[in-house]
């Protein structure tokens, strides 16, 4: 049922009352909305103030990043290995550029830009966003820099900048050790989206320690702050935010020794690693030939790159951690250690008739040594003795001893790629080749041939562990912990191996020509010659075969022999023999540690013969390479003679 409402009687009085009520409601609504507006404004300006202040500030201030100064890298005595050098650079600020073509033409005249430079600059200007500077030229000399600087007022948008560039005082000697820096790649920028990566003058570690310890070396960028309008017009310069330099990095390296070893390697392709046997400190770690990290950091030319990558001495590889070699006879101390650990009497003699008969196969020795004990076996590098011991102990025992000495291991070091090589055992062969381990495999491994592969760094660790009797872990950062637990073998037994190695150099051994010319300091060591390819009939890869098939020459050693302080490994690729090529280098490098003047004198004689120091020879090589490139390639034999090892 529908309810019918009586029509409301409207009079002047009810009307006035209704008006009063409704206008009160209206006034209330107005006041309410007013309160809402005040509340809203309070919310924006008080509660959200911080957020909006930041937004206003990021509107107002345009920041140009200033690349941070990279942390120095210094050696154990604080001597600089990598530093920063003032660098005069010219940038363009696209926003401020008024007449692009005229400006570039003026710059071209003032600092001599090439057509390629101009094309690159134009391309970068196209890609540049807002205030992002575009690099015009770096590494300018003062005159050209000044020529632009004095005309800066007439060239809006041109910004002469005094920046920093990386400098390595020892050049190629530290190339592989330290690495180099360079502009970040487009890919790195895409990954991080960090505007610093596209800031002119910013360099990122590209290899070696520079790359691995990038985070510690980089520092924090500073900023040039400019107040700009919405249209990007600069209004005034604000106070700059200074950069925070990266951390200084102290290495265990002895820069003098590093440089000496690099120079002493001469024109050979090889490596030297020296380790302090008290702490495991790596004192030198050299791989030659090398590249000059200075020219890499400035941006290497196409020619230079071609030359380096086509060199058969592989200057782009750090051989100390990436080169793998059969250790040859330098492995024999490990086999000796395995025998001692198995309880073999060191005085027991094995008769060497010039080889070892296994079934119907005869494994040759280098000579006919007659009856040999452990001491004489090491001194004479008698294969027969070690064949016998290897077979008695078994491959598992030999491999365990090799690992005890640090072979086949990767160490906690800041290098981008370390290869850990191979210490083979029956299980490994089964896994790797699906074949059973044979007795002849054991014989080959016992003298450091066959499947065994080691890096020069591992060889140096092996030498250091024999010298110290401790399982030293190599370290290169001065603040890394020292790890040196004792080896799992009685001290006097290790002493037997050391005395054999003393005999090698100072008695009737294979390296007597390389004994130290120092009063009261003797060097102990072990030579090794490793076959590059299997040659029929037991012939060695000597002078009669092309360079790249010649045997590698290896040497491990330590000094002083009675109270070891330093251990070293030297590997000379295709050096033909350990005693001829590697041991003399070890002798001179260790001499440098005890008597630098004597060592320098030896070196200067060699360098006079080779044609100058590293820099001079590299420059000469570059000139020769360019000349050769211009002409048809010379005959193979001619190219080879220049590379004959010293």
């Amino acid at each position: 049922m529908k309810r019918t409402r009586p029509p409301r009687v409207v009079t002047e009085a009810t009307q006035a009352f209704s008006f009063a009520r409704r206008s009160f409601v209206l006034g209330g609504a107005q006041l309410g909305l007013g309160a809402l507006l005040v509340g809203r404004m309070g919310w924006l300006s008080v509660a959200e103030n911080e957020r909006y202040s930041l937004l206003a500030e990021s509107n107002r201030v345009n920041m140009t990043l200033v690349p941070p100064r990279r942390g120095w890298i210094v050696d154990r005595y604080g001597q600089p290995i990598a530093t920063n050098r003032a660098d005069f650079r010219i940038d363009l600020i696209p926003e401020r550029l008024r007449d692009r073509d005229a400006t570039i033409a003026a710059l071209r005249r003032l600092i001599g830009l090439t057509d390629e430079d101009v094309a690159r600059i134009l391309q970068d200007l196209e890609d540049a966003r807002g205030y992002q500077p575009v690099q015009v030229a770096t590494n300018l000399d003062w005159d050209r820099f000044a020529a632009v600087s004095v005309r800066q007022a007439d060239l809006p948008g041109v910004a002469p900048v005094r920046g920093w560039s990386r400098h390595y005082p020892d050049g190629a000697a530290v190339g592989h050790l330290i690495g180099y820096v360079g502009p970040a790649s487009a890919k790195q920028y895409e990954e991080t989206r960090d505007p610093l990566y596209i800031t002119p003058g910013f360099k990122i570690g590209k290899d070696g320690i520079e790359k691995v310890l990038e985070d510690r070396l980089r520092g924090r960028p500073g900023a040039k702050r400019v107040e700009v309008t919405a249209r990007g017009r600069p209004v005034r310069e604000l106070t700059d935010r200074p950069d925070v330099a990266g951390q200084q990095l102290k290495l265990t390296i002895d820069a003098g020794l590093q440089l000496y070893a690099a120079r002493r390697l001469g024109n050979t392709s090889g490596s030297v690693v020296v380790i302090d046997t008290l702490s495991g400190d790596i004192l030198a770690m050299v791989s030659m030939p090398s590249y000059d990290p200075n020219s890499f950091s400035d941006g290497i030319s196409h020619d230079e790159w071609d030359m380096l990558s086509s060199d058969e001495r592989i200057p782009l590889t750090n051989k100390t951690v990436q080169g793998l070699y059969p250790p040859g006879s330098t492995f024999k101390p490990a086999t000796a250690l395995a025998a001692l650990r198995a309880g073999v009497d060191p005085e027991r003699t094995v008769n060497c008739p010039g080889g070892y008969q296994l079934g119907n196969r005869f494994f040759r020795c280098l000579g006919r040594h007659g009856p040999v004990n452990l001491h004489r076996a090491i001194a004479k590098s008698c294969n027969t003795y070690f064949y016998t011991m290897g077979r008695e102990v078994g491959m598992d025992g030999v491999a365990a001893a090799a690992r005890e000495l640090g072979l086949g291991a990767e160490y906690p070091l800041p290098f981008p790629s370390q290869r850990y090589g191979t210490v083979p055992d029956p299980a490994w062969k089964q896994r790797r080749f699906d074949q059973a381990w044979t007795q002849s495999d054991t014989l080959n491994a016992s003298i450091g041939q066959g499947y065994i592969l080691t890096s020069p760094l591992q060889l140096a660790v092996q030498a250091a562990r024999i010298a110290s009797g401790r399982a030293l872990v190599p370290r290169i950062l001065a603040n890394a912990p020292i790890v040196a637990p004792p080896l799992d073998v009685p001290t006097e037994r290790i002493g037997l191996i050391r005395s054999g190695m003393d005999e090698v150099v100072n008695g009737a051994g294979t390296a007597v020509r390389s004994r130290l010319q120092l009063d009261g300091i003797r060097m102990g060591g072990k030579t090794g010659t490793a076959q590059v390819r299997r040659i029929a009939g037991g012939a060695r890869g000597g002078l009669n075969v092309p360079w790249k098939y010649r045997d590698h020459g290896l040497f491990i050693g330590f000094a002083p022999v009675d109270n070891p302080r330093y251990a070293a490994s030297v590997v000379i690729e295709h050096g033909m023999s350990g005693s001829g090529a590697a041991a003399p280098v070890a002798r001179d490098v260790l001499t440098y540690l005890f008597d630098p003047p004597q060592a320098m004198e030896t070196l200067s004689r060699f360098e006079a013969e080779w044609g100058g120091d590293i820099e001079t020879r590299m420059a000469a090589q570059a000139v020769a390479w360019k000349a050769a490139k211009a002409e048809p390639p010379p005959a193979e034999a001619d190219a080879d003679t220049g590379r004959r090892p010293a």
Partner: protein, 370 residues
């Protein structure tokens, strides 16, 4: 409402209080315009100051007129304004594009501005003449709807969404106060809510965009949402006390668009902070409250409705502008009266104030007739 320092006799004769309040708001506005120009009286503060002086004079002149004058010209004035709106629409149709003014050579006349007080006066006059018994019948509704609908539709065609809204709102307030049945407004509100999607589909592209951007300004921070975003940044970064006079960066570095016109409040808030904002909003609320009191004191229906309607018109200006500036409403292009640079809104609001003063004066002149 007694001002103690001014003798009562003079206070009755001349509306000191309200003139001072208007001068305070306008003066503050000029200060903000001076800063918006980077600390210069040109190009805005000086011109605006002249206008302000002229229109204040106009308001005082209008205040001398008697209530009967307004009652008499209400409907004819409305008719003339409506014809002018037609004329603008015709001229626009001929010339093409959006046309809001008639160019008389020396001044660009914007008839839609006159319609804001015009609709209030016309409706007040209509309800004053309507026999009191018919207020709850259909006779009270359709003529009013027609009076509002015609100018609103014409202004919408220009297209000027903001002004159309204000005409509807001003008319609606008068209808509400006239005592029309409550269900009409509730029903109307519901119908409006239902019609919103349809109305939205009929909007121009740029208007629709503004509404969409209002709902999500961050969706297009560099395009249409830029205004709202930058305005909020300016207000938010001002904090409690602001960045200080002449120190606003959003306005001085041109990040805030329309910082001297529609978004002048943001310019002010950046430099004067919440304190300045509260003072300005408080000033406007005082002005509007005065208008509502004039209405409450008014001796007859026409004065009551006119005063409340004009006060509400000023209120709508302020409220819509501030909501728009603070990101609570879409950008519809309503300036902040007395503060924004520009003559039209100032003229309209000064006319409103002038009529209010005139009605106040008439009420006082008649003593305690009621």
């Amino acid at each position: 409402m007694r001002l103690s320092i001014v003798p009562a006799r003079i206070a009755g004769a001349f509306p000191w209080r309200i003139i001072l309040l208007v001068l305070a708001i306008g003066g503050f506005g000029l200060t903000v315009l001076y800063s918006a120009a980077g600390g210069s009286i040109s190009p805005w503060a000086f011109t605006q100051g002249l206008r302000f002086a002229v229109f204040t004079g106009l308001a005082i002149a209008l205040s001398r007129l008697r209530e009967e004058f307004w009652s008499a010209i209400a409907l004819p004035g409305y008719a003339i304004t409506l014809v002018l709106l037609f004329a603008v629409e015709l001229a626009g149709a001929v010339r093409g594009g959006s046309q809001r003014w008639i160019d008389l050579g020396f001044i660009r006349l914007q008839p839609s501005e006159f319609m804001k007080p015009g609709i209030v006066l016309a409706l007040a006059a209509f309800y004053a003449r309507l026999p009191i018994g018919q207020i709850r019948t259909i006779t009270a509704v359709w003529p009013a709807a027609l009076l509002i609908g015609m100018p609103a539709a014409l202004v919408m065609l220009q297209p000027d969404l903001g002004t159309a809204l204000m005409i509807c709102a001003g008319g609606g307030v008068v209808m509400f106060l006239a005592g029309l049945p409550m269900r009409l407004f509730v029903g109307g509100a519901l119908a409006l809510a239902a019609a919103l999607p349809i109305a939205f589909s009929m909007l121009h592209d740029y208007q629709r965009n503004r509404v969409l951007i209002f709902l999500d300004p961050e969706a297009d921070p560099l395009g249409t949402g830029y205004h709202i975003s930058q305005s909020k940044i300016a207000i938010g970064s001002g904090g409690l006390f602001g960045k200080g006079f002449l120190n606003g960066t959003q306005s001085h570095l041109d990040y805030l668009p329309e910082g001297h016109t529609d978004f002048v409040f943001a310019t002010m808030a950046e430099e004067w902070g919440l304190v300045g904002g509260v003072l300005l909003i408080g000033g406007f609320l005082l002005l509007i409250r005065w208008g509502m009191r004039v209405s409450a004191r008014a001796p007859n229906r026409f004065s009551r409705l006119t005063a409340a309607g004009l006060a509400s018109t000023i209120f709508f200006y302020v409220a819509i502008n501030l909501m728009m500036v603070m990101g609570l409403a879409p950008v519809v292009g309503i300036p902040l009266p007395l503060v924004s640079f520009g003559g039209s809104a100032m003229m309209t609001v000064m006319i409103c104030i002038g009529i209010l003063m005139s009605l106040d004066r008439s009420a006082r002149g008649m003593g305690s007739a009621r």
